[in-house]
Structure formats: C-alpha cells, structure tokens
C-alpha cells in the first residue's frame, strides 16, 4: 500500500518541499530509503523502527521502500523522521491518510517516540504556508517561532502517538505559546552596558553615534587599553530595535542556525575571534553552513583586532560590504545569502599600538609594512568612519561622560525615523544602504559643499566610492542634527571623521622621529 506525507528540508537559507512516499508490500522484510539522503536521514530507519514499536504501533515485517521526492535534491538532517514514520503508519493501514495531504510534519524522533525540535522552524512554517498546507505539526520547543507565520495552524505534538492522534482528527497537545513579550521580559545583558561608561573619548563616541544612526561602517583605532572594545560592546545599547520585517528575517536566519527561539528584538551583534577562516566568515564551509556575515544580517559584525584577521578572510568581506549579500558558489550549488550588516572593527594603528602617539611607537619598518599589508586598501575604503582613540596621556578617565546610552538612543531613533520617512518606497531603510541613484535624489549639496567635494576629489583624497560614502555620512550627520539639507559643515565633518580611513591602518613610517615622515 502507498502513502505520502509532506515535510521540508533546509538548504542554506532556502527551504525545499519534500514529499515522503512510503510503499509497503509483500516481500523479504526490508526498509530502504532512496532519494539522495545523507547519513542522518539513512539512520532514520533505525530511529523510526524503534519509535514505532515503542509507541505501541506495529512495524510491518514486509518490504518497505521510502522515497524522498524530488529525487535529485540532496536531503540532510534528522527532521524528516516524523514525516517518514507517519507515512509508514499510513501505508501500513494504522493511520488514515487523508490529513497527511494538508499537514506538514517536522521533527526528529527519539527511540521512545518523542518528537524533538529541529532547526529552521520559522523557515519551514513560511514554506508550509507558501505550499498551501493548512497545518504544521512539530515539537513544542520551537513552535512559537512557527506561530509568527499568519494563516497557518501550528500544532504541538510531543510524541508520535500525539501526531497520529492529531492526524486522525484529534486535538494537538498544546497551542504554541504566544511570542509577544517572551524575550522582552528577559533583559538582554548587553542592554545593561551604558555608553556613559566611556569617558574622555568624545570624538570616538561621536563617530560611533553617527555610525549607529546611519548604519555606517566604523573603524575604531587607537593605542591599547583606551576603550575600543568597551565602546564597541556598548553600540548594541544605542541601536534601534528591529522592525517587524527585519526581525522576521533575523529570526529566520537564527532559527536555521539553531540559535535560541523567539522573535528577535535586539539587533544581532556577532564578534568572531580573529582566528576565523574565510568560510567561517562568509559561509560555505559545509553544506548549508551560515557565515558570520549572514548571522550579523540587520545587525553588527564586530571584528576586534582587525589586523590579526587573515587577509583572505578580510578580503572576503568586500562583496557583502558593498552589496549587502554574499553569493557562495561551489561545484554542486550556488546560494545567495543576505548579509546587510554594519561593520565595526577595532585595531591598533601598528603592531605595538602606539603609532601616532608621539615617540612611543617602537615598531620597525618591516613590522609596519606587514601591518599595512594586512589591511587591504579596498577593505578600508569601504569603511566610512574612523573613531580615533586618544592616547592615555590625552585621555582623561575621570572626564564627564560625553553622552549616555539613553540620550544617544533617542538621537539615533529620531535620525532613523527621518531616514525611514525620506526613504519610504525606495526599498532601503538607512542612509548607509542608499545607492548612487538615491544619493542623487536625497543628498543635494549647496554650491559651497559641492566645491569642497570637488577639491577633495581633485586632490585625490577620495575615490569615487569614498565620495559616495562621505555623502552618506554627511546625510546622517544632518539627520542627527535634524536638518533637511546637507550643509558644508556636515560634509566637512564627514571628511574629517572619515579620517582617511583608507590609510588609517597604514602608518607610512614610524612616528618615533621628531617629524613623521611622509613618503
């Protein structure tokens, strides 16, 4: 007898609809699974057999063939177990097959028949809705993610017996708990860090404020121990919360990556260690592996000790920084991931950390050259703001705080609101995402500012891309100050704060001489 059930498998960020067909007929007892199943799926035979028997059902001692259609799509993971078991029960006549046509099943089975949660619940729920299925049955733990999808019934089933009961017309074990407030009640530990803790670095704080307001990339540069990491950790406290659509995108990604459930409210802050590889950073290490840039989508990617990262890994950031997406192409498949994040990087200006602060630098020419090579020009050209930290002597740890997270958050939120109002209908949310066409439309410079920009261009200070970046930052500065038009002051501040970021990590020569040499 033949029966089939619907489930989904995850490939990168995509979900693929899988029809599990089971055929039970006379013959030597066997259980074969066909359809490009990976090792985890092939092992499902043992799990399904034990779960069916331990749940009090009968496992047919006949020839069983399970086909995972479409046959050319590789399937991975254990989440197909539940669908396989239910299709098998229907094929052996222990379950009425009609509800299997409208229900999607997702979950791994334990040997005792309990249903375990699996990754990517939200993505599967979205796909189930798209495939016009009415109900999704899954384990309780991640069910609230699925409930974010409208017009899809979500039933919680704790074990195989419950699933059979629901498919026979019974009630599910529970309704998924509502997600509203589930994470809001838990205070995020990051939110307790306050910008007011950073003292005596007004310019750096200002640069980070601008970066947060417009979603610009920012490089924190300064001697060791001056508070770069401290400031970076506090950026989460001033970023605006995620919008509904952004939150769904983030939750979908994090759900597929297997992170804690619930609708994301805070922007993700990813801070990988500097030993990360290229594949770890942009993805593609193995099938469906998500890189840090994808996990930081709609949030912040913080690279501490930028110069210690491998050059290859850093150069892998170029495409995502420019396009907001990363296209991974391997021999068998190609995938495009969203990766629109704000890059926050911290570095010392040279290996010893003291270049540019008087005579303290003790680096040799060779060390400086190596440091310079590490940070490639094209990467630094994509960085909009340089937050320069003061050396200890100039930096007063007892100075009054230049701002607090609370007031900064208000400024950032109102600036973002202005941007959103202006960019409504353009498909982007922040100034940093504006392309050349939007820049022309939204950033009109007065003649004086045009002249300044022209001179900067003619002096070779700004590349074409750098000009666009300066204009975006100038737009954000005007937004922060609540002005509709970008003035020459905004442009000057943007140029000054750009800090020649393209050369910031590349001291030309040791600053130990009386006069810094310029080659």
């Amino acid at each position: 007898m033949l029966a089939h059930a619907h489930t989904f498998t995850i490939d990168g960020l995509q979900t693929r609809h899988v029809r599990v067909e089971v055929d039970v007929r006379r013959g030597l007892p066997s259980f074969t699974i066909v359809g490009l199943a990976d090792a985890a799926v092939r092992e499902a035979r043992e799990r399904v057999r034990a779960a069916i028997l331990n749940s009090g059902f009968e496992f047919p001692t006949q020839r069983i063939t399970a086909n995972l259609a479409p046959g050319d799509l590789p399937k991975a993971g254990a989440a197909l177990d539940l669908a396989l078991a239910c299709a098998l029960l229907a094929a052996s006549g222990q379950l009425a097959p009609d509800r299997l046509q409208t229900h999607a099943l997702l979950g791994e089975l334990g040997l005792d028949g309990r249903v375990c949660p699996s990754r990517g619940t939200l993505a599967v729920a979205q796909a189930a809705r798209k495939a016009r299925l009415t109900t999704l049955l899954l384990a309780g733990e991640r069910a609230h993610e699925a409930s974010l999808v409208q017009r899809l019934e979500v039933g919680v089933v704790e074990c195989l017996q419950s699933a059979v009961r629901v498919l026979g017309g019974g009630r599910p074990d529970a309704q998924p708990r509502s997600d509203a407030g589930s994470r809001a009640r838990r205070p995020d530990p990051r939110a307790e860090l306050d910008l007011a803790d950073v003292r005596g670095q007004p310019i750096a704080t200002r640069a980070v404020l601008i970066a947060a307001a417009g979603g610009h990339n920012c490089l924190l540069s300064g001697p060791p121990g001056t508070g770069k990491t401290m400031l970076a950790q506090r950026i989460a406290s001033i970023l605006p919360p995620l919008g509904r659509n952004e939150a769904i995108e983030v939750t979908r990604i994090h759900s597929i990556a297997g992170f804690g459930g619930g609708l994301a409210r805070e922007r993700p802050l990813r801070a990988p260690h500097h030993s990360i590889t290229l594949a770890g950073l942009v993805g593609g290490a193995e099938r469906g592996h998500l890189g840090e840039v994808v996990l930081a989508h709609n949030g912040v990617l913080f690279l501490d000790e930028l110069s210690e990262f491998s050059r290859v890994a850093l150069d892998g950031l170029r495409q995502p920084l420019e396009d907001g997406r990363v296209a991974i192409v391997r021999a068998q498949r190609s995938t495009v991931y969203p990766a629109r994040f704000m890059l926050l990087a911290a570095t010392n200006p040279c290996p010893c950390g003291y270049a540019g602060s008087g005579d303290l630098c003790r680096c040799s020419e060779a060390e400086l050259a190596r440091h310079r090579r590490k940070l490639s020009g094209p990467l630094l050209d994509r960085i909009d703001l340089l937050a320069q930290f003061e050396h200890h002597a100039a930096h007063d740890p007892n100075a009054p705080p230049s701002t607090s997270s609370r007031s900064a958050r208000v400024l950032v939120r109102s600036a973002r609101k202005r941007q959103a109002a202006r960019l409504r209908g353009d498909g982007v949310l922040t100034n940093a995402q504006m392309d050349a066409r939007l820049l022309r439309r939204h950033v009109r410079l007065p003649p004086e500012a045009e002249h300044t920009l022209k001179r900067a261009r003619e002096r070779g200070m700004l590349s074409a891309r750098a000009q666009h970046r300066v204009l975006r930052v100038a737009r954000t500065i005007a937004d922060l100050d609540g002005r509709d038009r970008v003035g020459v002051e905004d442009l000057s501040e943007a140029v000054a704060l750009r800090g020649d970021a393209g050369r910031a990590g590349s001291p030309r020569a040791p600053g130990r001489g009386v006069w810094t040499r310029h080659a």
Partner: protein
C-alpha cells in the same frame, strides 16, 4: 655688496701660495690651526723657507701689482672686519676671508638660527649613510640649520636628507668655490641652492688641498651649536671636528654603530669619553634646546606656521601651528575649542589645501612642503580667507 678689505684678500692670497707647505703640516693634530692663527709675517717666517724673500715682496706689493685679485664670480667674499661675518667664527684662528656662494644675507640668517654640524667620514657604511640621511631630513623638518662639509659620504647623505624637505644648509667646502663640483653631485647642490649657501676660505681656484678639508671642518665645528659625529674611524683626522668642538666648549654628540664596524670606532671612542649619545633627531634637539619639550614643540609649531602660505585665515594658521606642535588626533585638536564643527571644517579646509595630511593612525600631520602647489595655493588661500 660687502667688500673684503685689502689685508684679508692678501691673507687669502698668502694661504694660496703656502698651500703645499700647509698640506705637509696638516697631519699633525692642532699644528695647522696654530699656524693659521699666526700673523702674515710670522706665517711667512715659519713656512716660507726658500721662497721667504719672494713671498715678503709679494706681500708688501699685494694691492699695487694685482689690483683685481678676485675675478668676477657668483660668490661674494667677506672678511672678519665685515659686520656680516658670522659671530661664531670670530676667533684667533678664524678664516680672515670667507667666500660665500648663495648670498651673505642668507649666511647671516642661517648662522643666527640654531645650527647643528653633522660630521663624519667620507667612506661611510650603508648604515652610516642611512642614519645620516634620516638625521638630516628630520633636523631640516624641525627647522634647524644644518652645517656640513661639501664632500662625499656622511656629509652628502645628510644634505640629501635635508634637501628633500628644502631644509636650510650651510656647506663648508674644502676647495675654492671656483672649482666645479663633480657632475654626480651637481643635482643635489642645485637643490640646496634656494635654501642654503656654501662657504670656503680657500682661494677661488684652489683644489685638492688636504689642509683645506681640515680647515673646513674647523669652520663647521665653529658654526654648529652642536656637533654630531655620525660615523668616523678612530683616527685623528676623522675625529677632528669633534675635538675642535670640545675645545670650543660646545656640546659633542655621536651616533653609535655596530660593535665590530671599524667605521664606528671613532664614534665609540667619543661616546666613551663622554659625548652625548644620539639615536635620532629628537636627541639632537634636546641638546640644542634642553630637554624641556615645551620649547621644542613651540619651536616646531613656529616652524610649521612659517610654511603657511600668506593670506591664510588666522584661525587656520593657529590650527596649523597646533598640529605642528604635535597634536594630531581630532580629540586633541577639538578639546577646549570653539564649536567642534568649526574646527572640523577648518581641518578639512587645511587638508584640502594640502597643508595637512594624515599620518600614523589617521592623525593629522603637517603636509610636506613640496606637495603645496603654488598655483592651487593662491586659489585655495582665497577660498580660506
């Protein structure tokens, strides 16, 4: 134009005539300078030998027979009686007549500034050449006048360094100024021309005189407020400048070299005897101005402001001076200032003019003089004013 008096011209003539004898006497340390301190008559008596009578006659009738001893040339001769004569040189064994190429006013201006004599061997190692170049360059950037011999080796490397920043340099030639310079070095002396001058005490066409080189070191040591020996072998001839400066009671400094290197033995001897150790230009500036950084930074500020083009707004000029005094980061430059936005705007303006560039770690530093294009400058300065 100052004119040298007849007595001093005659002295110059006499030294030219006695050159071969002086050459023989310049090996013994100190002997040459005792001879040069003698009066004309005593000099003839001491060195004239068989030519004594001839020289005395020539000396007596000097002006009458040869009314125009110096042919017309690009240089000017000044004598000790001239008020333009550098004060530092006025000593008993001082050259009576000084030929100056590049203008007497220039010499006076340069000599009245703080001066550093950079001395060293003509057969320098690569290391010596490199540090001499660096030192010359950094000192020139700090606005110090450099005194060096006009010869190969350390002196030439130091001049190259200084000329890169268009630094003020006084060269002391061991030959007469009428002698053409070796073609290989022509370009470097050409570069020095606008900012420096060359002096010599030898007659116009004298060349290849050993005593001329020794006498040149004496002038350099006397002109320098500090004498720095960059690289020298452990021989009296190579350490002559340092010994003379010691005798004059001026600070003597030396750069250390590799322990096994023969070309640094002389420097090591000086250091063992108590010369100040120099690692870079800041050590030399410490000797010149004392260790108080305030004076130093004030000096640097003023030297950076001096490079500012005329017609620059006072705020911009002040900001440039602040950057010149060593403040580089935005935080330092905006602390306790007017509105931050104005400072940022002014900084961008200065950067657009090329007066400021970014240095280590993205901080501001004063731009290189050569990068300032005078044509653009005019337009920019008008914009800024």
């Amino acid at each position: 134009m100052p004119e040298a008096c007849r007595d001093c011209l005659r002295r110059c003539w006499l030294l030219g005539e006695l050159s071969p004898v002086l050459d023989r006497n310049c090996c013994a340390d100190g002997r040459l300078f005792e001879l040069l301190a003698l009066s004309d008559e005593n000099l003839i008596a001491a060195l004239g030998g068989r030519r004594r009578g001839e020289l005395l006659r020539g000396h007596a009738h000097f002006g009458a027979r040869d009314p125009k001893p110096e042919p017309a040339s690009a240089h000017v001769a000044i004598c000790v009686h001239d008020e333009c004569y550098p004060e530092a040189l006025r000593r008993p064994d001082a050259p009576r007549l000084l030929c100056v190429e590049g203008g007497v006013d220039c010499l006076r201006a340069l000599a009245s500034n703080k001066t550093v004599a950079l001395l060293g061997t003509a057969h320098a190692s690569d290391y010596g050449l490199e540090v001499a170049y660096e030192l010359g360059r950094e000192l020139a950037a700090s606005g110090v006048t450099l005194v060096a011999e006009r010869r190969a080796g350390i002196a030439l490397a130091a001049q190259r360094g200084a000329s890169e920043l268009n630094g003020a340099t006084v060269l002391v030639s061991g030959d007469g100024l009428g002698v053409p310079v070796a073609k290989t070095r022509h370009s470097i002396y050409e570069q020095l021309a606008p900012a420096g001058c060359t002096v010599s005490e030898l007659p116009d066409q004298a060349r290849g005189r050993r005593w001329g080189v020794a006498a040149g070191v004496r002038i350099a040591a006397a002109l320098g407020d500090v004498t720095v020996t960059v690289e020298a072998e452990d021989r009296a001839g190579e350490l002559r400048g340092a010994r003379l400066a010691q005798a004059l009671g001026k600070p003597v400094a030396a750069l250390p070299g590799r322990v096994g290197s023969p070309t640094s033995r002389g420097c090591h001897r000086l250091l063992r005897e108590g010369a100040r150790l120099v690692q870079d230009a800041s050590d030399v500036l410490d000797l010149l101005y004392g260790v108080d950084g305030g004076i130093e930074s004030a000096f640097r500020a003023c030297s950076s402001a001096r490079r500012a083009p005329p017609g620059l707004r006072p705020e911009l000029r002040e900001l440039l001076a602040r950057v010149g005094s060593g403040l580089g980061t935005l935080g330092e430059l905006t602390r306790g200032r007017r509105k931050r936005a104005e400072v940022l705007r002014d900084l961008t303006e200065l950067e657009l003019m090329g007066l400021l560039t970014r240095g280590d770690g993205g901080g501001y530093v004063v731009g290189k003089a050569e990068s300032m294009d005078p044509l653009r400058y005019g337009a920019d300065a008008q914009m800024g004013s």
